[in-house]
Amino acid sequence: MRKLPNNLVTSNQDKALPMHESATKHVTGQAIYIDDVPEWPNELHVATGKSTEAFADIVSINLDKVMSYPGVVDVILQADIPGDPDVSPVLSGDMLLAGDFVHYIGQPIFAVAATSLRAAKQAVELAEITYQTNAATLHPKDALARQEFVLPTHTIQCGDAQAAMAKADYQLESDLYIKGQEHFYLEGQISVAIPNEDGGVQVLASSQHPAEVQKLVARVLDLPVAQVLVETRRMGGGFGGKESQAATLGCMAAVLAVRNHCPVKYRMPRQDDMVQTGKRHDFWNSYQVGFTQQGEIVAAQYDMVGKCGCTADLSDGVVDRAMFHADNAYFLANARISGYRGKTHTVSNTAFRGFGGPKGVLLAENIIEEIACKVGKDALDIRKLNCYQEGKDTTPYGQKIEEDVLLALIEQLENTSDYRARREAINDFNQHSPFLKKGLALTPVKFGISFTSKHLNQGGALVHVYTDGSVHVSHGGTEMGQGLYTKVAQIVAKAFGIDYQRVNVGSTRTDKVPNASPTAASAGTDLNGMAALDAANTIKERLREFAVEHFAIVAEAFAIEDDVVTLGSDSMGFPEFIKLAYMNRVSLSSTGFYKTPKIGYDRKAAKGRPFLYFANGASVSEVIVDTLTGEYKVTQVDILQDVGDSINSHIDIGQIEGAFVQGMGWLTSEELSWDDKGRITTNSPANYKIPTSADVPEKLTVKLFDRANGEETVYRSKAVGEPPLMLGISVWCALKDACASVCDHELSPPLAAPATPEAVYYAIQAAQAFKAQSLVGKEVQEASV
């Protein structure tokens, strides 16, 4: 590993760390979310009329009863949108309101503005719409068979997978259907638009990407972007669900606000949110792997089909990232990985924490479990054998793994979690326990950090220092609970050498920092923290120049630390010094900018360096399963996560635990369900079950892997938002392990994802059937001897 420049190696671990900047406001109910902003007396509320067909041409629409319903003020169709009705984030096809045809159940066809949300919701039910229906495609497998894609297929290759497969000791061929996930942010999608005096509009958005809301609002209104101001103070959770799809709400509210010259609020009730907004993609993965008798993978051929829904949305990046993570932590010398963007007549799926990555990682870990049973070894040995290490350090897409963290991290966790002794105890337990079986799994995660769309890897910030020494920071990132504002304030305070309390991070506004990237890809702190640091350093440099001249000292004699400005042999307080600088006409405001270095991916060659670095982690999960019902409990979890030099360990641990539980939920109790017409049947928290406190094991430990980032990131920290979500995969693997114990690990039975009690029950049944068959086989053999 390269040596780190000393001035960048820092650790905040010893100092008292700030709480989340809004913690006290959260617990007292003072934190303001958009629905809490006082309403105007003339404010209108939006509801949409939804398609009841998955794929159909609209024959007729009669809205007479809707328009005459008490409280209804305005009703609009696509033709009433003054600008472009297409609100796609990147490509095209996402219509604010459907035009001649619909392509998913729940698609908005018309919108109502009424004096109350209740009146609007009651009114939309009165529409009379007739359709000419077409045959819908609902499953990604069908999309593949019919070659219906929202975007072209992409393939990554290294070595010669086919040749290596033919020569392998063993081959394994199967498929794994991985279901998606509902975001279930506690604050549903919402936006308020307020027309301004210039024909423009101000939009309050619960969005991870205010700049895109701004751009799209301008587009639907046919206005210059500069006429639109978007502000996001905080979201009540985002998780990717408010990256692209929050824009629809801002656009709809803006169109109705400008038409009616009044503020308009569009808040989706939970059921609308669960029906009308996209989710994590389902993936249908079919795989063929070749491996040695020792369990070393020598060939891999993967076909990964994402269920993108009816439009592209962000699916290109999602499927790419699934492909980039199909290796997870394991070296593949010969691989072909193809990613298909399946088009289905369902709501357009979107970003969700991990952005496709989890689908690749789960595929890889599923394969490891199956190889381990085939060669009769502990899955951890197969993991370590295949793990990226010296001489086996290049990914299928050609990026070299420069840090040797993975194996060290796995081995550290193996020891601290007492993996081997627990494995033996579990084997003993399982032999003696007729109904309950335990399972154990240690799974690693290697997650690439950077947007795979190169241009998004930029951050902007604006820092002001006021004459009393207080500091205001604006940046392009948004706060959705992840503590970005807190971290950026810490970074700026540290850069200036001042107390954290002096720094105020304001809400995210498109007139403060323009053209900002979404707060996504775990890159919030990396990009915005660096940009804020750049701005702070610019101001600090001006202060230094001023001090050198004013006090006739050398540059090295100037320093600010703990709120005290050192000026050679003299010193003064920071506010006093700032006042002096102001009186001497020093500019105390600066923008800051950052672009991620080194990255680039050549799509044509399918080679390059899409990621600046990798964030790594591993977790050990232990479960206990009731073989009579498939019900289970997670009894112990130990996590070790590589966050580089942590900027705020409390916040990082909060991200790790929260992501782990969200990942566990995805693979256990959270099951999306659709009927054969294409209607989502899990449309409420009554039938879509995210984890509760009782699902979290009492024994849950999180430790941070103690090593600075090898790349020059902000204070050598590493991204933490998404990577630990995939630690939840250890729960799924532990369940699979428990099922395999039923047939003495001679087979790792297929397990559905999510592993609901039903799924676990039938995996156990498969294991029991396998065991019964092999016993019969043995008897036959013995009889014939």
């Binding site: 913690a23 995210i690 509760t692």
Partner: protein
Amino acid sequence: MKFILNDKIVEETSLPSDFTALRYLREKRGLTGTKEGCASGDCGACTLLVGALEEGELTYTTLNACITPLQSLAGKHLVSVEHLASLDEGLHPAQQAMVDAHGSQCGFCTPGFVLSLASLYENAANTGAEVDRESVCDAISGNLCRCTGYRPIIEAGLAMADRTSHLLSQKTWIKSQLAEIENSMAGAQYVRPETLAQLHQAKQRHPDAEFIAGGTDLMLENTQRYRDFDVLIDLTRVAEMKQIIEQEGDLVIGAGVTYSELEDYSQTAYPHLYQLLSRIASRQIRNRGTLGGNVANGSPIADMPPILLAFDADIRLDKIDGSSREINIQDFYLGYKQTALAADECIVSFRIRLAKLASFHRFYKVSKRMEDDISSVLLASRFDVKDGQIGAVRLAFGGMAATPIRALATEACLTQMAISDEQALEVALQTLRGELTPMSDMRASAKYRIDMACNLIRKAWLELNGMTVPTFSGHPVPSAWLELGQDVGKQEASNHA
């Protein structure tokens, strides 16, 4: 109607009957700390603390403001998150503990968690009860958090300092005020009879009015389907419907008894019932939901009807003319969401022979999530045993048909058989596969449902034969099950029969 909102007595005279407490706080009072997360009582972001006098004592419980009509809270003390902290005394212990433990991230669910923890804190301070992990998880069982993974919230619950909160310091004032307004009447459109006679009159006056008890199901019509209710008749103050009494060999449970009240009653006497009750909905819902409501709404996936079927409960139905009849629960369910309850009738109480409660019984619930989930399959079983032989058998299911249902043919296979007759069990299970034809939906497939129905009967049978068969609940796994050498599945020394 009068009630105390935080620290003030409030009088409201013109609210619609179905106006929810959540809308009232947010739209009429500007108290936006209480959040709408789902408007269906499933997420807890709108959790409120409600104080009431119980036999002179001031106790606090939690409820979901999103599905609670404000007028059902006449005469009570509503505490919203804005009131927990005070200028003089700072944050409430639940709030301070949440801050210290980093218990909030996005913060949207946080006020609800804080109030659930505050309820636990206040009642524990009152009763001197210990706050442990299980009681914390119970208190927050109806609060969903999508950010933190709960660990810091549980930690906050365990760390709530035992200093006096300002809520308690106002106790005397609150008590005296509540005593005065306790019987505050709700508006004309929200009728709260206190006797059966008043109830009959109310329904005569408003024949189209819906009855509402906890409203945990009925109000979904209002918040999910946007149906307006004109007049509501609240059953929660009718004395005859609030009782649990044992008389003349019977246990009589009023239809207005809440799950929480039934939990208190059953905790020591009927541990299997107590354990099952902890699997029904969440703490907030159990504080509101009633036995009568669960039976009357006719749902095939309600959890109490199979239990009542297992004990051959008789249901007392009152007509508005004052007449009364009893119907066995076996005759109550007619079809999907259809019951024998006439439009001018309401359920008053359930009567169970105490002798039947003394029989061997086991209840099992299977669902995707342990806490606050709807059954895929629920079995309520009862076996009368004499001299090693099975007498009457009841095998009642939820989730297996269009109504809660007994598997009569399957029961017959086990009746008069020796309890250890495994052959009889296999015949019974084979019979069951022909007898019930459940459907597939988002909760479970038909195949899983029938497989579970069989395996749950098998579980009950094994336990009948003195085996201890583990059954997970929402609570932590008993440590004995986690240890090697545990006796799970082995014959117990004592025979339950």
